[in-house]
């Protein structure tokens, strides 16, 4: 029984991070109609910046409890990076998809090299954040309290993003731009500002994903590419451009992956792609996709 609870928590934990990454990817696609290949690398940047900050803070003797504050700082740094990069991508929004994929893939390679240049090849850890919180007992097993915080942040992220998009004026502008960019522009919307805001929010989400996961693991080279592939599986299942799709897709991927690990270890790799393939066959736009 305690195994079941922990595996469910593991799945929710994994889904939280996946959702943050995939929701950002979907948001950026929804508004700007570009598939951002570099999105996973923004997640990695969030992890590296946070781990580096936590390392610096610990070295300076900052109490571990305060290092929690570095998580939003890490995510915010990625948002700033997004604000700097978005104007550079703008000329490609109306180009064919091949251009967008090539350009954002180039961006991915550049950012990966920047990470390596800045932080080297060693895994970077942010243990102090993780070890502030005590473990929770389930039967004879323990579960790290921090992982529950990650799940809570995932839930808060989903609610927050939903509220911004469906309950604020900015959300209306975002949706208007997404539906008809020229009309929105004609009605006096500052489309450029909407673009850069949407891109920054998407990057913040990815950066937040990286910032919250790094204390439980480490920041390693290549983590962004791994995350990108999983985020693609999520949006293929859920539907690119859909917030609900990202949420449901992340939950499906996480729970199926965990079930695969627990019951069918031999097919752990295949099972996710299998679901994606089935969804593509049955509903090519994804479960919540419209395009």
């Amino acid at each position: 029984m305690s195994i079941l609870i922990i595996q469910i928590l593991n799945s929710l934990f994994y889904a939280s991070v996946l959702f943050l990454i995939a929701a950002g990817l979907s948001l950026i696609f929804g508004v700007m109609r570009i598939v951002n290949m570099a999105h996973g690398t923004f997640y990695a940047v969030g992890a590296f910046v946070t781990a580096w900050l936590v390392g610096r803070a610990s070295a300076l003797g900052v109490p571990a409890g305060w290092t929690f504050l570095l998580i939003p700082v890490g995510a915010g740094a990625v948002a700033l990076l997004g604000i700097a990069i978005e104007p550079l991508l703008r000329p490609f929004y109306r180009r064919a998809e091949e251009y967008q994929l090539l350009v954002t893939f180039g961006l991915l390679l550049i950012l990966e090299d920047v990470i390596r240049f800045l932080w080297g090849g060693l895994p970077l850890s942010a243990d102090p954040v993780m070890d502030v919180l005590p473990s929770v007992r389930f039967g004879g097993l323990i579960y790290p309290g921090y992982n529950l915080v990650v799940i809570a942040i995932g839930v808060a992220g989903a609610i927050g993003l939903w509220a911004v998009i469906y309950r604020t004026k900015f959300g209306v502008m975002l949706r208007a731009t997404s539906q008809d960019r020229r009309m929105a522009s004609a009605l006096g919307l500052n489309v450029g500002l909407v673009y850069v805001s949407a891109f920054a929010i998407g990057c913040f989400m990815a950066g937040l994903g990286g910032a919250i996961i790094v204390p439980t693991q480490t920041a390693v080279l290549g983590m962004g590419i791994d995350a990108l592939i999983l985020a693609f599986v999520v949006v293929v299942i859920g539907g690119l451009g859909s917030l609900q799709g990202a949420l449901v897709g992340a939950l499906i991927v996480s729970f199926v992956r965990t079930a695969g690990i627990q019951f069918f270890p031999e097919v752990e790799l295949a099972v996710l792609y299998l679901i994606a393939a089935v969804v593509l066959l049955v509903k090519p736009t994804g479960l919540f996709g419209t395009a």
């Binding site: 994994y14 390596r116 090849g121 850890s125 579960y143 693991q217 080279l221």
Partner: protein
Amino acid sequence: MDKPTTVDRRKFLGALGVTVGGTGLAGAGLVAGPQLVKAATEPPKGKIPDTPFRTGHMTFFTSPAAVLGEPSHKGHILAAEEINAQGGLLGKRKIETITADEAAGTDANVKELRRMKLEGKIDLFTGIISSGNTPALGPVAEELSLLTIFVDGCTDFLFDKAVPQPKYTFRITNIQSADGITSAIGTAQTWPQVRRIAHIHPDYSYGRNAAEHFTLALERLLPGTEVVSESWPKLGTTDFTSHITKAMSANPDLLYTSVWGGDYVAFYKQALRYGLFDKMKVATTLALGVAPHAIGKDHPEGVLAGVHSNYYFTYPGGDRWPLNKEFVQRYYKRWNEYPNFQSEGSYVTLYMLKKAIERANQLVGGWPDDEVIISQLEGMGYDAPSGYLYIRPDNHQGYKDAVIGFSKNLPAYPFSTWDPDRVITIPIRNITAPPSWPKPGQGHNESTAAADWIKKTWPKATG
């Protein structure tokens, strides 16, 4: 197949030559001289060109495997700088190095190998970490007639199947099957009471090989053991929470894992927080295989900590084997960090080549042809920092005594290292198939010659 005979386990381990020791160089009884950095004793014969000797070093500079790849490159560069400081190979030819990132993928690596040979005009190809790459690169190196010394990429498949009769390709680090067998022997020696075994391995050739040979050997050493849980995470996975919970749910006595590189660092940090190390013994093939400083002091003590059965920089320790002490000092001075087994492997690669070239020069004069250099590499014995290394002529594979240790936090180092009093050494000839043993497809269909050899010749232990 005949039913295996039985033998008392202590006698069995004794027959395998397993020793658990302190700082010594068990079983070897060798006397080391300061031969590594020493200049050639005989002056080179004939006229030697002063054109650079171009080497191509391919290893992981990106991806989680860079924790192994960067040390490989650093070992290579250190050796090249030392040799160049003495004037270069045969005192004339300076070693130049071009590099490539192994993370580009197997197909791209094959293209890059061709490009290095045809455009880069390399004289030697070296490096390589992944077992997925050597079987693709080996045949191409043979086709290009390019002298190639793989540092790692240790799969048995390379010389069992992909290049069964190598001419130009060699490999330095121990053959892969030795890894699983070494961990099994370490387990049987240390924890003979374990019966329920959980497995977590990366889902590709290395993980499969490590699992298979561990289980084969352990069935002989500890009959009655069973696999109670297995997980096959993708290589490059950093979320192991579900794998860890699954392994714990099976209540194993021992977890055996071949997860490595950045993946292992992520794994042990999560396993620690899930209390896994309190619930079971843990045996690994590569826990301390990465750059030593990548494993923090939070790593639990007493884990059977593999180094790919090759080398850890504290062993042979002290003054017992000065070659190692001096190598570690020079490496630390150059890079401000300690070497791992890849550093040692790529360092030794260039020095073995240097020795082969010098011998070949004495034989034929002038700059020797590759054929003559190869004839000198075949069967070469070499005093390496790790101990005695032998290149078997039949399969061009390097063999050295396998080592594995136990993790421990020592005040002298800011990272987890080996317990200096509990290093397990196993003579390599006792855990690898002998030269004449049939390869897969020659009368048997086991995955490796080693697997067939264990099944046919190892007795079952009792007691």
